[in-house]
Each structure stands twice: as structure tokens, then as C-alpha cells.
């Protein structure tokens, strides 16, 4: 691919583009890098990562400070359920989508929730199920709103590999006597595996870090993001611990995202 086609850019416009991008990227990453740095600061709220200490990390497991472990378990459980469900449904829909009729409408139906504000989805689930139908919200409704959030991303992951899948391979397998089950397991699944694993990782992360929808659909369930949210907006002395805890979660999420992206790219 040719670049800077026919002088669309001058040195000056390139500089402007980079500066604008850099400003936005700084606003995006200052809080992320800042969180990591300040989690080692003796006074995280001062905004100065100095003097350094490991105090907050060490005290994460002491007595009352360790209350995040319960919510962590809840979030991991919900994340695993959502990841499995979203990836399975995405696989079912995504592998059929390139070859069925009315695919535009079906795709739009699944992707439309991608643009909805999270708060709207949370409130819709709360009002419809709790208010209108009278069903108590709780674990299941958190799973539901996380599923709604994760499915479009899962579907996009699967579609990335599904549109490149050559269905003639299935015909070939059939001619060689493979049953439909064997066609799927031996031919289709291995070729789509990068998309499937990326979908599983991304869905888990989306659920694990989800907050806006959970706030309304949670019933009495406390997920880890919700625990961190209440602790951090309560102006409490817990804030320093929250920095350390959030930094650990963020680093883990970062690494899993890189892993999933690598899987998807290798599929190319």
C-alpha cells in the first residue's frame, strides 16, 4: 500500500495530526499510567508518586481490607458464565450469518445494543423485569446485562474469522465421508479457534470490568467493580487501597487484552 498518496500531507499537517492525536492519547493514558504510579505513592491523593511504598499492596490482604476477595469471586463467576454464553451464541450466529438471508437485519439487531448507553440497558432491564414483570433482580440480571454488553464484541470476533472461512472445505470434508459433527469439530472449529478464544477473553474482560449496567441490575449482588466504585466514591480512607487494587486489575486486563489481540492478529 502506498502512503501519503500524492502529497495529501505536508510536514505541517502531519505535525498537527500527531499533536492532536497525542493530546487525546495523553488524556486517555495519563489516568491509566497515573493509577499505576500512584498506587506506589505514600499519598496517592497528592498526585505525586513519591515517596514510594509497597504499603498499600501489602495491606490488601489484611483483615478488613481483604473484603474485595468475595466480590472478586462473584465477578470471576459471572465473567466465566458470560464469556461462555456470549461466545457460544456468537459462534452459533456468527458462523451462519455470512450465508443466511436477511443477515443485515439480524446483524443490526445484535449490534444495535453496542451504541446504547450502558445506563439505558441497565435501567431497561431493571424496569422491565423488576417493575413490569415483578421478578427480583440479582445474579441472573447481572449476567444478563453483561451478556448484552459482551455479545456484540463476541460476535465481531467470530465474524472476523467466519467471513474468511471457506465453506468449500466443509463440502470437501463431506465428500470424504465426515459427519456434520466431524465437519464442525475437525475442520471448522480449528480454523475459527483464534476468533473463538479472542471472543472468550474479550467477553470475560467486558463482564469483569463492567459497571454502568451493573449499578442498576445488580439487586443485592456486589461485583468487584461495584465494590471499588462504592469504596472510591465514598471519600473513604480506603482510596489508597483502591488504587493498588485497581492497578493490579488493570495490569491483568491489559495483559489479557494483548493476548486476545495477538490471537486475533495471528489468524490473519
Amino acid at each position: 500500500m502506498r502512503h501519503n498518496p500524492a502529497g495529501l500531507f505536508t510536514r505541517k499537517t502531519v505535525a498537527v495530526s500527531i499533536v492532536f492525536g497525542a493530546i487525546a492519547m495523553a488524556l486517555l493514558y495519563i489516568p491509566i499510567v497515573g493509577l499505576a504510579l500512584l498506587s506506589f505513592s505514600t499519598q496517592p491523593l497528592s498526585g505525586i508518586p513519591w515517596p514510594l511504598t509497597l504499603e498499600w499492596y501489602a495491606s490488601l490482604f489484611e483483615g478488613n481490607n481483604a473484603k474485595w476477595i468475595g466480590p472478586l469471586g462473584t465477578s470471576v463467576a459471572i465473567g466465566l458464565i458470560v464469556s461462555t454464553a456470549a461466545t457460544s451464541v456468537a459462534l452459533l450466529i456468527g458462523r451462519a450469518l455470512p450465508v443466511i438471508e436477511r443477515r443485515g437485519g439480524i446483524l443490526a439487531a445484535y449490534l444495535s445494543v453496542l451504541v446504547m448507553p450502558g445506563i439505558l440497558v441497565g435501567i431497561a432491564v431493571l424496569i422491565f423485569y423488576r417493575g413490569l414483570l415483578g421478578i427480583r433482580t440479582g445474579f441472573w440480571s447481572v449476567v444478563l446485562v453483561h451478556f448484552i454488553w459482551a455479545l456484540p464484541f463476541a460476535l465481531l470476533c467470530i465474524l472476523l474469522v467466519a467471513v474468511r472461512f471457506d465453506r468449500r472445505l466443509l463440502e470437501a470434508a463431506k465428500d470424504l465421508g465426515a459427519s456434520r459433527y466431524r465437519q464442525f469439530v475437525d475442520v471448522e472449529l480449528p480454523l475459527m479457534l483464534p476468533g473463538i478464544s479472542a471472543s472468550a477473553f474479550f467477553s470475560f474482560l467486558l463482564s469483569f470490568n463492567e459497571l454502568p449496567r451493573t449499578l442498576y441490575a445488580r439487586g443485592g449482588v456486589t461485583t468487584l467493580p461495584y465494590y471499588i466504585w462504592t469504596a472510591s466514591s465514598a471519600h473513604s480512607s480506603q482510596v489508597s487501597l483502591i488504587y493498588a487494587l485497581s492497578a493490579v486489575i488493570m495490569l491483568a486486563s491489559f495483559l489479557v487484552t494483548l493476548l486476545a489481540m495477538r490471537l486475533l492478529m495471528r489468524a490473519e
Partner: protein, 309 residues
Amino acid sequence: MSLVSATSDRGGVAPPATRTIRFSLEGAAIRLVTGLWAIGVLLPILSLLVIAFLRGRGIGFIWTPSLQAYSDILVGFRIEIILRTLRIVALVTLIEFVLAFPFALWLAKGLRAGWTKSIILVLLVVPFFLSPAARTIVWRSILGREGLVNSVLMSSGLVDTPLDWLLFSQFAIHLGLIGPYFPSMVWPLFISISLIDDELIKASRDLGGSAWQTLWLVVVPLAAPGIAAGILFTAIPMLGDNVVSALLGGGRVALLAESFDDLIRAMNFAGAAALASLLVLIILALGAAVLALLRRNGINGDVFRGMQA
């Protein structure tokens, strides 16, 4: 890179013939799941438009048509909140576009594929998967009364008393919103600009068009679906943002999300449904306006085309 080439390579594989799924276990499963999605997910959201006209009783509803919920919520201060939210979202979306368009253009047409490009694109994906609250809370340490900016300003003698308007203010909300919503604006722009054939740009230049004319008459019209998608993907989720407004508004700058919080806490589900229905209407109006604008400029098809894998 990955996302883009997958999209553009689609033409390379012979498109499989469309077929109706015969009655099979798989076909039945697809119908079932899609049906459940429509009833269990899309219906609750759309039903808000109907629920808003019911009379509330506690957290339940009585099936008599009523405008009570609307008259309950559409009071002076809340109209002010709605207008304030719309103004902030419009301004931040504009800022995002101004920052993102040249950057996306450069990423797509000015930067050679390589490590730099890959790293930038990875950095634009990762934030989607990080906790929104954790990404916002640090602004408190930076903008607070005893925060970084104030201590630098104080110790350098530029100000005598800490600046109050840095945190828990409209300024903080604007600043806090720009970062998190930047990738939502860049991706649709980047994808749609990447799909523009370089030959078209070169032809425009060969025929004597200046760089600005080429940008305005060739690139912008061809990237219009991406521009539309970028605006929708940025502005609509921002309308309901509750993390930034709660952490950086600190209760002093109320946005739509706080109104929802108050109504739900007061168990006024009918009021919340009415407010949510307004949000749905704003979203539909915004979507329709963007589509109409695209149509008037002779661009048909859905705004998602640029996003479709």
C-alpha cells in the same frame, strides 16, 4: 492491520451463495436465540416508550394510560439537567471529532504499516477492556485541591490559593470525557478512511485539486459513513455516562445519569421509564438526523457499513 484488512479482504473470498437454512437443529437454534434476544433484550429497551405512559404504583405499574410520569419528571431543574447534558455531550463530541479526524487520516493514509502503527492501534483497543471507574478516579489526584496541578501552581507561586474549579466542575467533566471516548471516535473514522482507494486521492491531485480540495471533495464524502458512525458511537454512549459525571462532577454538576440515580433510589420507576424514554427518543432523533444528513449528500445505506466485519 487486523480489523481493517479483515474487512477489506472480504471481497477476495468468493461470496458463498445465500441459502435459506433448511429445517435443522442449527436453524432452529438460530431462530430461538434470535427470538429470545428480541424478546428478552430489545423488547425491554423499546418497552420503555410504552411503560412511560403507565401510572406507577411503587415499583410496579398500573395498566392505565397516564402522562403522570412525564409531568412528574419534566420540572424546571430536570429540564436544565437534560439541556446541560446535551450541551456537554455536543461540545465534547465536537472536540473529539476535531482531535480524531486529522489523527485518523494520518493513521490511515500517512503512516506506513509497522511497529508504530501497530502500537498506536493496540493502544486504541486496550481501553475498551479496562475498568471505566479505575480510568477516571486518578483525575481526582491530579485536579483535586491538594492534587498535582494545584501543588505545582502553589509551589511555583503562580496562585496563592488552590484552584477550586479544577475538580467537581464542568471543566473536570469535559476533560474526563475526552480520553475515554476518543477510541470510539477514532475507530470508525480510521476504518472508513482506510477503505478509501488511494488511486482516487491520487486522481484528484493529478486533476489539479489542492490538498484541501481533495480532503473536502474526495476524502470527507467517502468517509461520511465513518464520520456518522463516529459521532453516533461517541455521543450516544456519552449521553448516559455515569462514571465520569459521578467521580468528577462530585454531585455539583448533575447530568442525566444522576437524575436516573435519584429516580431509581426514590423507587419512582415510572419516572425513570419516562426519562429513559426521552433518552431513547433523543437517540432515535440523533440517528435519524445523521442518516438524513448522509442521504442528502447522496450516501445511501446504513451507517454501520463501515463498521461491519
